[in-house]
């Protein structure tokens, strides 16, 4: 199979280029894209990418696979390869450090901006804070985010305003804490988002939903935040 990999080394390259590798795919097995990258790296140890858990829970290996953002470790070749060709590029819209490794600083900065930790000013009880199963169920579909950045780097609004628009991943987490019955800082959290950019740059394109490898729905969460902001403003 032909594997075409985006190459860029800031020490030696003036500009990026695509490099082709011929990879022998063992018969009878539907390899994951990450397995193929390992075979490429066996040929050429300078090919650079991030990876860790290799089972879709750590979020290291988000990349653009034949034109679509996804996690290399849980994307089987059968799902993405047509005409025996695999094209691997870094996640779009972020500065490239080297090859498939992007600089995620701005992505993390937007995550930190929403204060992604529980805030509760009530006295701490001797046991756990109680939460009904119904209230806990409100966090499903939110807390599972793995910060892989597949969504935010697939979002035109984030491409245009990465400094000002929190982006789908950050907003999903913003809503995770807004929705948590144990968090008492709802008002401060909303105030922190109440400007024309942080939330309202979302145009409901739903590119985030289309690529989330965990099947989460940031657009829906953003919709809930919008409603809360409207109610607060009214």
């Amino acid at each position: 199979m032909l594997v075409s990999v985006y190459r860029y080394n800031p020490e030696t390259d003036l500009k990026p280029s695509m490099q082709d590798y011929q990879v022998e795919i063992p018969g009878g097995k539907d390899l994951m894209v990450l397995d193929v990258l390992a075979l490429v790296k066996e040929q050429d140890d300078s090919v650079t990418y991030r990876r860790s858990c290799r089972e879709g829970v750590c979020g290291s290996d988000g990349m653009n696979i034949n034109g679509v953002n996804g996690l290399a470790c849980i994307t089987p070749l059968s799902e993405v390869v047509k005409n025996d060709k695999l094209v691997l590029r870094p996640l779009p819209g972020l500065p490239v450090i080297r090859d498939l490794v992007v600089d995620m600083s701005i992505f993390y900065k937007q995550y930190e901006r929403i204060e992604p930790y529980l805030q509760n000013d009530d006295p701490v009880p001797a046991i756990e804070r109680l939460q009904s199963p119904e209230d806990r169920a409100k966090l499903d579909g939110l807390y599972e985010c793995i910060l892989c950045a597949c969504c935010s780097t697939n979002c035109p609004s984030f491409w245009w305003n990465p400094e000002k628009f929190v982006g789908p991943a950050g907003l999903l987490q913003a809503y995770r804490f807004l929705a948590d019955s144990r968090d008492t800082h709802t008002d401060e959290r909303l105030a922190n988002l109440e400007d024309p950019f942080s939330v309202f740059r979302c145009r409901g394109i739903m590119n985030c939903v289309a690529v989330c490898p965990k099947g989460l729905n940031p657009t829906k969460a953003i919709g809930h935040i919008r409603e809360m902001l409207m109610e607060r403003g009214a």
Partner: protein, 590 residues
Amino acid sequence: MANIRTMTFDGVIVGGGGSGLRAALELSQSGYKTAVISKVFPTRSHTVSAQGGITCAIASTEPDDDWRWHMYDTVKGSDYIGDQDAIEYMCSEGPQAVFELEHMGLPFSRNEDGRIYQRPFGGQSREYGKGGQAARTCAAADRTGHALLHTLYQANLKNNTVFFNEWYAVDLVKNQQGHVVGLIAICIEDGEVVFIKSKATVLATGGAGRIYASTTNALINTGDGIGMAMRAGVPQQDMEMWQFHPTGIYGAGTLITEGSRGEGGYLVNKDGERFMERYAPNAKDLAGRDVVARSMVLEILEGRGVGPEADHVLLKLDHLGEKVLNDKLPGILELSRTFAHVDPVKEPIPVVPTCHYMMGGIPTNIHGQALGQNADGSDRVIGGLYACGEAACVSVHGANRLGGNSLLDLVVFGRASGIYIEKMLSSGVEQQEASDSDLELGLSRLDKLNQSSSGEKVADLRKELQVIMQNHFGVFRKGDFMREGIKKLQAMRERIENPHLQDKSNAFNTARIEALELQNLFEVAEATAIAAEGREESRGAHARDDFTERDDENWLCHSMYYPETKTLGKRKVNFAPKTVPTFEPMIRTY
């Protein structure tokens, strides 16, 4: 100081997983200048893969639960070489540590009364083994590790811990007095090498399951802290004790949580027989992991395996119904569909025992202080060095860890290390100094790689190492076969110390990191091999065909591997808990 930059902190923690982040949180909360060095962004650490939960007697689903019952189970699970003072500390402090996690925001699943949901796990009992199965494992669906790791990272953000993300710790810096004064680290992004100086260095580098060809562990689990400690002459404890998890997905190695059996799933052989009823009539599929893994291998060896090669068995879950599976085991559904191409709602999952957890590691006391030994066999604290989590051997797991005890171990002893270091810092301890020559260990290893112009490929050497370990040091072990394995390993040392690094770039050079990781894997593998050959008995996860019985007369003790001489010694097990009577060794049945 050589030609490299020096950075100084009160405490430096190597590793951004659960134990490292818990230790860091304790320190940064108390205002000390704390740094975490992590080779991956912290939420990419292997804690994220933990599924089923954190075992702890919080008396929620099990309202009259008692931490002493949990202690009994853990001592029994360890096959009596877990240290009882440490197990007592973990089980009694556990509830507080778990409640703290909940207060930080961990999204635990809930019972109707609003308390934390607990599920049954293997080896759990009520009333010291006499009251039947307990439900003691606190869970956030089957994504407890993910929820825990993200919560701890978030708590550290709140408390302004300094993170060196995507920095790699190369070697410890130990001065002529034997005091650890920090470490050499390399920034992966730009290749800068620095000396990080600190009054306390905590190794929280996790496990090393990548010494085996088939493992549930992440690709990053390469035993870096163990390798660093051994190169600094620190002995390692119980390195022969590796847990093979009963249910790794056949062919992929991905973990299927024990919680799936806790929720009512069970194993079947090719005849559809629930074979664990024969091996463990009482606990059945929830016997100790070592017991279940061995039973599975015996089924396969006796011809009752499943598949064209008859080399695995099946985990049946479909009888639990779609609702339970969606609510309680959603991650398992995802993993099974992706990696086994089966839908557990309709069909069983092909599984096989798979390397999962390193019970051994850097010996420590309950404060996380790393220990060496004096000539008379008594413990000697190694100044400046601490360890916690899977890299450490406190030892709460002894010869076999109970499911759900690893997450408890890492929060309790991460926290304990932080508390002790805080106390030590506030008593005004002085920063010890290092000379240029003390930095040489790490710098020369880097130099050698950067100068390499010949040698073998890292990927080839790694594969060869993993195959040796898989074949010679697996679930069942035999003396002559292990000695053959040790010879093969010895023949690899020279080659592994001199691989060929083709890529010499300073920009995000992962080839260089993989070469350094391979050297750590090798140190762990060799220690494992020599300790396994040396322990002439069967206990817990260590099962020998040539010494099939437990031998309390000679081996009711820890093994100690001395890296400088590559020899094996012994260390006493602690049988002196402070608040409860000693649990005396008994025959271990489930």
